[in-house]
């Protein structure tokens, strides 16, 4: 069957999201138009969204198909993992190690990245972020934390040397 699969997928995603929100209203009180419960407005919206999704889906059938274009699977995965790793490590290890990890992971997302470039980027960006965000803008995240706490004493004189 011929169809514009891009639109079919869009309609499908809309219907799926509508379904999830509709499921979520099951344990909420719907209420009446006069006394709307917490579930009233979302349920109406979910209905509208499902309707829009269905129309998009039906209109897509019979249309010439459109390609999804290229996707950089490895790159996308690495970029999405980077913030998660940052979130997992920032409280445990501190700002410097978590930024370094996030940058290192992200640098390998490009098809053109090399180990040398990744290492240079990691080092410069980590120093830059610590100086700008922690020292100059006063973001309240310790440079090192937890098991690496003792390293703060090591870097403090270096920062003092440059007056930050």
């Amino acid at each position: 069957m011929q169809a514009n699969y891009r639109d079919v997928a869009a309609g499908g995603v809309f219907i799926a999201i509508a379904g999830l929100f509709a499921l979520g209203t099951l344990d909420l009180r719907i209420g009446t138009a006069l006394r709307m419960g917490p579930g009233y407005f979302p349920l109406v919206l979910a209905g509208v969204l499902a309707l829009i999704g269905a129309i998009i889906l039906i209109k897509a059938i019979g249309r010439p198909s459109a390609s999804f274009g290229e996707v950089s699977w490895r790159g996308s995965a690495l970029i999405l993992i980077a913030p998660i790793v940052f979130g997992l490590t920032v409280r445990w290890l501190g700002l410097a190690p978590s930024v370094a990890l996030a940058v290192l992971i992200a640098s390998f997302a490009s098809r053109r990245s090399t180990v040398k470039l990744a290492v240079i980027l990691t080092l410069t960006l980590t120093v830059f972020c610590v100086v700008v965000f922690q020292k100059m803008l006063g973001v309240p995240i310790p440079i090192f934390a937890g098991p690496l706490d003792s390293l703060n004493a090591v870097v403090a004189p270096v920062f003092a040397l440059f007056g930050v």
Binding site: P42, V48, L80, P83, L117, L137, I141
Partner: protein
């Protein structure tokens, strides 16, 4: 007091605030950053403002808004530089500038093209600043008379207009608005305290983090899109000489600049309008009324002057609905509203009366910022040319790092970073399916307000839904919304709409 004296006293109050050294400094920082991200590939004002939003918490409210605003209109200037010099728009609002601007550059007239863009933008920015000062107070007066029914209808109109003016499929844009509205409802229900869609996560009780959503959808998803095919940028013009336009150039650009400014100012006020639509529409108009339309696409100076003045005028007047009604016209304005809420200011008509120094200071700072931008962009053009070729491979790890730190510093919560990854993925999938993310963010900001006003209006009317059509102001707004929606679906209008957005092809 007559209007002129009032305008002058307001503006002098504004310049008094904007000229404070700290505000001048952060205004400069804002426009500098704006130009920078306009020039650099793969990062736009929405993502930048979202990342920097949390860091402005410690600033005075006026200072923070002045800087964030500077990023937005500064990006319009930087975007035109890349459009002219390397045929790649740094910002989507400069996409049409690339058509004739790049041709001018190829003919060795990069200098005049850049000067035309900067001077046109400055003129448009100055006019738009005065327009905001003139129109904001009366609109505020009207807005103060609004009840819940009027607010509900006004927001409906805003959402519908943002759908009508978005590029691409109307149905998909509508769907994106609804998804945004639904996402905005996640968290505790204000009226009953019931937990909605939190799936048991305590972190979601206060709702989804607005910064995480914006950073994910506009920052991370954009990186994923750029990774699809990486290519180097080639700069043909290594050195820009002869910046100043000739006498003939000046003559040729006056009328298009005036028309572009007028068109941009009007379109900027409309929800979903702002800079992008303004520039496309201005280019189309110039081509249509030109006696020599065949010159367009081959280096016509009108094709640079009109869209560049229009996008700057539109960027600026889109502040009007945000400042007077508390309703965002585009994603950047949604972020500005977020910035106000974080600073403890209730956006809406009360801002002008309760915080006049913030209100007028922001307006005055725009003129100062525009002046700085002309100085930044013309004499320093050599510096920006060098930055044009920074390879993307080196840029996006920095964007990722800034996104992480920015989001985490909102409320020191690791959960928000997982949300960034989730929204990055969702945003990318939706972009892949031709769904524009801008209406989603507007819906997200308006969702809770829309529900709140709907419930309040229904309670006041004792469950009578006709309240929205029996109150004249509300009925008018809804009528306009329905009309806009119907018109958008008319076949003739749809064809025209597609045409406007396809100029770049």
């Amino acid at each position: 007091m007559d209007i002129v004296t009032e305008l002058f006293s307001n503006l002098s109050l504004g310049f008094g605030t904007a000229a404070l050294p700290v505000n001048i400094g952060f205004c400069f920082l804002g426009v500098l950053l704006g130009t920078l991200i306009g020039v650099l590939p793969g990062i736009g004002p929405t993502a930048t403002i979202a990342m920097l939003l949390p860091i402005t918490f410690n600033f005075e409210p006026a200072t923070s808004l002045i800087m964030l605003a500077g990023i937005y209109y500064g990006a319009q200037y930087g975007g035109s530089t890349t459009a002219i010099l390397i045929n790649l728009p740094g910002e989507s609002s400069s996409a049409v500038t690339a058509i004739d601007g790049y041709q001018m550059a190829r003919q060795g007239r990069a200098g005049p093209a850049l000067a035309t863009a900067a001077l046109g933008s400055f003129f448009a920015g100055s006019v738009a600043t005065i327009l905001i000062a003139l129109f904001a107070p009366p609109l505020t007066e009207i807005a103060l008379k609004f009840g819940p029914a009027e607010y509900f209808s006004l927001m409906m109109l805003g959402l519908v207009a943002s759908v009508a003016l978005a590029s691409g499929s109307v149905l998909k844009a509508l769907g994106m608005v609804v998804i945004g509205l639904l996402l905005g409802l996640v968290g505790s229900d204000v009226n009953t305290g019931a937990q909605r869609f939190t799936m048991g996560f305590l972190e979601l009780a206060d709702g989804l983090n607005f910064v995480a959503l914006a950073v994910g959808v506009f920052g991370i998803a954009e990186i994923l899109r750029n990774l699809e095919n990486e290519s180097d940028r080639e700069v043909m013009v290594k050195k820009v000489t002869n910046l100043w336009p000739s006498k003939e150039d000046f003559k040729a650009m006056i009328a298009p600049t005036l028309r572009g400014t007028a068109l941009g100012s009007v379109l900027g006020i409309l929800p979903g309008g702002g800079a992008v639509l303004s520039s496309f529409a201005a280019y189309t108009v110039e081509k249509r009324i030109s006696k020599t339309p065949e010159r367009f696409g081959k280096g016509a100076i009108e094709g640079v002057a009109a869209p560049e003045s229009a996008n700057n005028a539109g960027a600026q007047t889109s502040f009007i609905p945000m400042l007077t009604l508390g309703i965002p016209a585009n994603p950047v304005m949604a972020l500005m509203i977020g910035a106000m809420i974080i600073q403890g200011i209730q956006p809406g008509p009360n801002v002008a009366t309760e915080k006049p120094e913030l209100f007028w200071g922001l307006i005055a700072s725009m003129w100062i910022g525009n002046l700085m931008l002309v100085l930044l962009n013309l004499p320093l053009i050599g510096l920006w040319v060098r930055l044009l070729t920074v390879p993307y491979t080196m840029l996006f790890p920095a964007i990722v790092a800034f996104c992480c730190i920015g989001v985490y510093s909102v409320n020191s919560n690791a959960f928000d970073l997982y949300a960034v990854a989730a929204f990055g993925l969702l945003g990318y999938v939706l972009v892949k399916l031709d769904c524009e993310p801008a209406p989603l963010l507007l819906g997200f900001v308006l969702g809770p307000m829309l529900e709140e006003n709907l419930r309040r209006a229904m309670t006041i009317s004792r469950g009578d839904p006709t309240v929205f059509v029996t109150r004249p102001l509300s009925a008018t707004l809804l009528l306009i919304a329905v009309a806009v929606l119907v018109i958008t679906f008319l076949p003739a209008v749809r064809a025209k709409r597609d045409e406007v957005f396809q100029e770049e092809a």
